[in-house]
């Protein structure tokens, strides 16, 4: 199921503004890779290029190469819709569809892509809600609106919705930043379980979180204000946190700046 991502020399633009410059990295399958770095350094922007969500923004474009195993995500023959079915995404703020029930939210990705078989849907909805550790909390109210859940439950609902379409990779853009510590813990536990099945990339501002959940960590930074963001270094999380090879990484992690 899970796939490896290979990025080489990627530049990301908003119109004529270069937001991220020269990123090359490998994201290992069945592992959690965390992106850390100060605000505005392009972590989220870069993350969104991994499932071609960046180009949804007017003026958004990309130079360089992103390979998912042996598929070039930016090849001219590649349909962005197909890419997004393979590389799922969870956003910063929980965003369940407000008009849909809990069940419909989880089934949305399949239904909107034409799956109608009730049995298949029932099975996948239950499996996905189990996968997101939400089943026991909502199994008796699957027909209640998704927006009626608590913030942490909504975020797990969004994770269930994302894994229901059975992607290879799961991108998470600061999934806990709007949640309390208990809900955060629930999501972190979930990330740990999900990595046996998916390749997970998580953007976080919380360095403890990066240390807790990730196998590898990538540190992004701006060269200077107004300059594009870049990847400073990437490596095993324990090494990045204990023995970073760049001075900037050490300063950021030890709290000397940022």
């Amino acid at each position: 199921m899970a796939k490896r991502i290979d990025v080489s020399d990627l530049n990301v633009y908003y119109g004529s503004f270069k937001a991220v410059e020269g990123v090359s990295m490998t994201v290992e399958p069945r592992s959690v890779t965390a992106f850390i770095g100060p605000s505005g350094c392009g972590k989220s922007t870069f993350l969104r290029t991994l499932n071609r969500m960046h180009e949804v923004i007017p003026g958004g474009r990309v130079e360089g190469k992103v390979m998912l195993d042996d598929q070039d995500l930016y090849a001219s023959s590649m349909d962005p819709v197909t890419v997004r079915r393979t590389v799922g995404m969870v956003f910063q703020r929980p965003n369940p569809f407000p008009t849909m029930s809990i069940y419909d939210n989880v089934a949305a990705g399949l239904r909107l892509n034409g799956v109608k078989n009730k049995k298949t849907l029932d099975g996948i909805v239950e499996q996905s809600l189990h996968g997101a550790n939400l089943w026991n909390e909502v199994k008796d109210r699957l027909n209640k609106p998704g927006a009626g859940l608590s913030g942490g439950q909504q975020q797990r609902l969004c994770i269930a919705r994302a894994i229901a379409v059975q992607p290879q990779v799961l991108l998470m853009d600061e999934p806990c930043s709007a949640l309390d510590p208990i809900s955060t813990l629930a999501i972190e536990d979930l990330v740990n379980e999900l990595k046996s099945e998916f390749t997970i990339v998580i953007v976080t501002h919380n360095m403890q979180q990066a240390a807790r959940v990730s196998d590898r960590t990538a540190f992004f930074n701006l060269k200077a204000t107004g300059e594009p963001g870049r990847l400073v270094e990437i490596g095993d999380t324990t090494r990045i946190f204990n023995n970073p090879s760049e001075r900037a990484t050490e300063d950021y992690i030890s709290g000397r700046f940022g």
Partner: protein, 321 residues
Amino acid sequence: MTAATDRRLPDDRVVPGDPSTPPGGRSSGDVLSEMNHPHRARAVKDVVARIVMWAAFALAMVPLVWILGTVIAKGAHMLTTSTWWTGNQRNINSDDFGGGARHAIEGTLQMVGFTALIAVPIGILTAVYLVEYGRGPLARTISFTVDILSGVPSIVAALFIYAVWVTTFGLERSGFAASLALVLLMIPVVVRSTEEMLKLVPNELREAAYALGVPKWVTVVKVVLRTAFSGIVTGVLLGIARVMGETAPLLILAPYTKNFQRDLFHGNFPTLPMMINQDRGDFALATAAERMWGAALTLIILVLLLNLIGRVIAHFGSVKK
């Protein structure tokens, strides 16, 4: 160094109009007296604002209550006559009492329904284009055109249709021709209100759908339009209410008939505004005046019913909490 200076800034802010404040700091007594004084001033402003607000509200209610009161007082008993909801005005002269309004009610509903059938899809699709797809000069041109269209007086729209339909194509005046003019008046209302509703749909929902690998058009139909549904219904009903009482296009394009007439495409066509207009001509006769007020009340009731139906639809289609 700069950070330290920055951090001191809020404390150093000097209160304008208060020369007694010593630079760099104030005693707590100064702060208290400053806070007490504006409190009283604010209470006075609050009372004044309340009075102004309620007065404006009452003033706005006067014409509304007056109109409703007059129309109900003068027209209500017409609606309780045995033939009002079933008959028409055939063979009923101005100085005869009674007759029915069914021909005009049916005509108005049919004409407005037909108008909506054309204007609603065009209006909603235009709004979808403007909000979801349109970029650059074409979108700006369309948006500008809609603005102009919404400012076109109804009689001008009617004359335009007359020039095209009757003068150029040589076709006859009919309910359909009037419908076309009403379409011109309804489209901008539907476009503008739908546009506002679509803009209210959070971008996060679109992104959530894209991230699930849902194509854009499915996202627009199943997520964006669905989320904005109740607002769009309200906008459509506002548009219908707007054209239901339009009279100028009917005067020019759809001559009145006292008979039942269900053919929208040929001959004269009965409508409530035209029935009102007909009886207004013989206003001096109590019989005609009564019919006029009755037709006016009926028209108000139709608009009201439409709004109620819209609210019910909107309620059941709205975002669940």
